[in-house]
């Protein structure tokens, strides 16, 4: 099935909730955050947690390699045709915020080739604290930071920490080793985020990605309602 052959209208332009054939498109959730905070590991864990109940796909935005896409392939979290890599020309935030065309193509092509899909995870390349996703690309965004990046990050704020629909503070298991104060991070995050949710997680133990997966299920229920 390809656009233009079976549909009357030309391809969608931006964040239209309906595909050209009138069906509802997949929910798109963006994951952003600094380098090394655990975005790809969170995506992999989400795929494992959700793939039995949902039809899902992933778009990665590697800055200069296909490492993130290849990690997901190696871990076999999804079949290869459900993982697509976008090249970002040395500017990962541009590709998810200022000029989203390549990412829009990637999500639409995934829906065309392996759809119908319930959920597409769009992972940003590791970037800085100001990087956020355009509303033209994703319906909700998760910002992933980690305890080892400094426990003052929630206090410093910035668009990712303050406005993301979900803030994930990752690698809580490392807190004792790097001297990070989780209670302080939690209080600072609450203060910055005006009621938006925060999840503290460790993918190496406890409930792993369960809280984030539950949040995604909630967004999906709202999207399909």
């Amino acid at each position: 099935m390809h656009l233009g052959h079976t549909h009357d209208g030309p391809a969608a332009v931006s964040a239209d909730a309906r595909r050209p054939d009138g069906t509802r498109r997949a929910l798109r959730v963006g994951l952003g955050g600094p380098v090394g905070s655990g975005k790809t590991a969170t995506v992999a864990a989400l795929c494992r947690a959700l793939r039995a109940e949902l039809s899902l796909a992933v778009v990665t935005n590697d800055i200069y390699t296909r490492e993130d896409a290849e990690f997901l392939l190696r871990e076999a979290v999804l079949p290869p045709e459900r993982i697509s890599a976008v090249e970002t020309g040395a500017c990962p935030h541009t590709a998810i915020r200022d000029d989203i065309s390549a990412n829009l193509e990637a999500v639409e092509d995934l829906e065309d080739t392996v759809g119908p899909l319930d959920l597409i995870l769009v992972e940003s390349g590791g970037d800085n604290l100001t990087a956020t996703f355009s509303k033209g690309l994703v319906d909700a965004q998760i910002f992933v930071i980690d305890v080892a990046g400094g426990d003052d990050i929630p206090r410093k704020g910035g668009p990712g920490v303050t406005t993301a629909d979900l803030l994930v503070v990752n690698k809580t298991d490392l807190a004792p080793y790097v001297g990070s104060d989780l209670a302080r991070m939690s209080a600072d995050a609450r203060e910055q985020r005006a009621g938006l949710p925060v999840v503290f997680q460790s993918l190496r133990g406890g409930d792993g990605v369960a809280d984030v997966a539950a949040w995604v299920r909630g967004r999906l229920a709202a999207w399909t309602a």
Partner: protein
Amino acid sequence: MSRAALLVLADGRFPAGGHAHSGGAEAAVKAGRITDAATLEEFCRGRLHTAGLVAGALAAAAALGADPGELDAAADARTPSPALRTAARRLGRQLLRAARSTWPSSELDALAREFPKGAHQPVVLGLAARAAGLGPEDAAHCAAYESVSGPATATVRLLSLDPFDATGALARLAPELDRVADRAVAAARRVRAEGADALPAASGPLLEVGAEWHAAWPVRLFAS
């Protein structure tokens, strides 16, 4: 005709995907052909008179209302490198999305139906100019300018080149760019009577070879 519409279309921040492409500069930097502002200027000069001229003529012809399908085939014939054809179509698809949203037009919708996976970028650029109320001269200038502005901004990132030096190189190329655009428009005006064969077919072999080399790298900053 609106001069301001030309500024919108030609703006380097127009969200049409160009930021992820280096116009061959990444391969030329790696090969040691671009090392500083002077060699960047020479690289851009070569690209302007080859790929830039062809792109300008295709864009001007599209702006004049020539058949996009015929122009797309002409662009294919003038682009030996499969990697460059893929990149041109990808950029064309991205530009088409941005243009349809910015200047809604039945011609752009028709192009999206005919080429769901993208037509060559200069063809889309010409039709976008047409939809914006611009003429063939504007379209040719846009295409010719993009042929040099892309490599210049990419080289600033690749070599940490002084951005003032890169911009100075573009400014020095401006008079030549005007002449290339004039030639492009003159050729485009012949398409109605003579068909797409009237379009120039200049090419830079190293750009084509470099694009194939670049496409095979496992690690790179730019998509092309």
